[in-house]
């Protein structure tokens, strides 16, 4: 049962911006509904107006050009896990999408909604930050691009402006010999811990420091310092242990139903090593 509200179907970015400006705090942006309808059903928040952005053409489509994978904000996880261009460009992202929540959430939930809602227990943010992805935001002041790490600033908190719409997500496609991986631990439909990694292994050694980002345990995804891995042998157990230590130190876990803080910190170390092993296996 939902309390009464009015649904406004925006058919253009400009119309959505105007609706946000006119309706202010009384309106929330609605796409797949997998997060926002839950919030409303639980009585955590109430909006007399929802702005449906799914009818906006610019929020759809998956394209590859200039070394960039561009995903419309209203593209559903279901489409991302099936799209051949995604699987070709960034196979680890297609795999991540194949394992978001459950099949019904994937069928309805959108990538843009996932980022804009900023639920900490989510898979895409850590991975997108590891790949230096950015979002395209449009508002009455114009269009701007923002790193995903600068979009999500807290639990359920973003820097999205009051009249801005998330239009698309741009992910730089890793270089030909670079690889990426995402590993997670999950009991029900949300991850307890997720670790994303992107980097290059050549001739048995890390070339440059891989990007490692821990998601789901802290209020926001956290980057792990990895400079020590630059040039390290891919099979160096001490380097893997050092990464696990660095990962544990990079997070301040939030205790919740997914686990106590010290338990999550332990898992972060375990999964940082698994992420490293996954990257090495991908590169082999």
């Amino acid at each position: 049962m939902l309390r009464r509200f009015e649904l406004h179907r925006a058919t253009s970015v400009d119309e959505a911006i105007a609706l946000r400006r006119d309706l202010g705090d009384g309106a929330a942006v609605y796409a797949g509904g997998t997060e926002i309808l839950m919030t409303m059903k639980m009585g955590i928040a109430r909006w007399p107006h929802l702005i449906d952005v799914k009818p906006i053409p610019e929020l759809h489509g998956i394209t590859v050009s200039g070394g960039m994978l561009r995903i419309g904000a209203a593209v559903a996880h279901w489409d991302l896990e099936r799209d051949p261009a995604v699987a070709r460009a960034i196979p680890a992202f297609a795999e991540l999408e194949r394992n978001v929540a459950n099949v019904r959430v994937r069928a309805a939930g959108t990538l843009g909604g996932n980022l804009a809602f900023a639920e900490p227990h989510a898979d895409p943010p850590a991975f997108l930050i590891a790949l230096d992805a950015r979002v395209v935001l449009s508002g009455s002041e114009g269009t701007r691009r923002l790193a995903v790490s600068d979009l999500i600033t807290g639990m359920y908190t973003t820097t999205l402006g009051a009249d801005e719409i998330l239009v698309s997500i741009e992910i730089p496609i890793p270089a030909a010999d670079a690889r990426a991986a995402y590993v997670k631990f999950q009991i029900l439909e949300r991850p307890s811990v997720g670790v994303a990694i992107a980097g290059t292994v050549r001739d048995g050694r890390f070339r440059g420091a891989p990007a490692v980002v821990v998601g789901a345990v802290d209020e926001v995804p956290r980057r792990v310092p990895t400079a020590a891995l630059d040039g390290a042998r891919a099979d160096d157990a001490a380097a893997a242990d050092a990464l696990a230590e660095a990962a544990r130190g990079a997070v301040d876990p939030v205790a919740d139903l997914a686990g106590a803080a010290d338990y999550k910190r332990h898992l972060v170390g375990v999964f940082a090593k698994r992420a490293l092993a996954a990257l090495v296996a991908e590169a082999a």
């Binding site: 509200f5 649904l7 279901w78 099949v103 019904r104």
Partner: protein
Amino acid sequence: MPQRTMAVALNGSKREVAVADHTLLSEMIRGLGLLGTKVSCDMQVCGACTVLLDGRPVSSCTTLAIEAEGRSVDTIEGLADGPRLHPLQTAFLEKAAFQCGFCTPGMIMAAKALLAERPSPDEAAVKHWMDGNICRCTGYETIVEAVLDAARATRP
């Protein structure tokens, strides 16, 4: 309460349905007397309320009815052809893949979407697809077997 009238293809037959913006798809379906769609957790975790929206499995408890405008909605009532059960229904019966039956309509609708996309899934694919449908009685072995049996039965 303001209502919108919309066209829906419900279990294959076109009809006009009046809904409010905040009406949930599960409320619309059950309000039309189709009580096979069950609402259990009411938070898109358990899968009991699974119906197909343009062929995709969705949690009808957390989907706005208005999303069905101009689209097809398929529920458990649409599966049997008169007295002839759908192969999934037959397989669930033969494997005794349910006990209380509350999760079964959602299980079968989810499985229907799987077989539409992948007529010959292996066991891992069935488990991956169905892992968002929760049963609290039987355990999952007979459910996975029933889906695999139905796949074999419907294969050309």
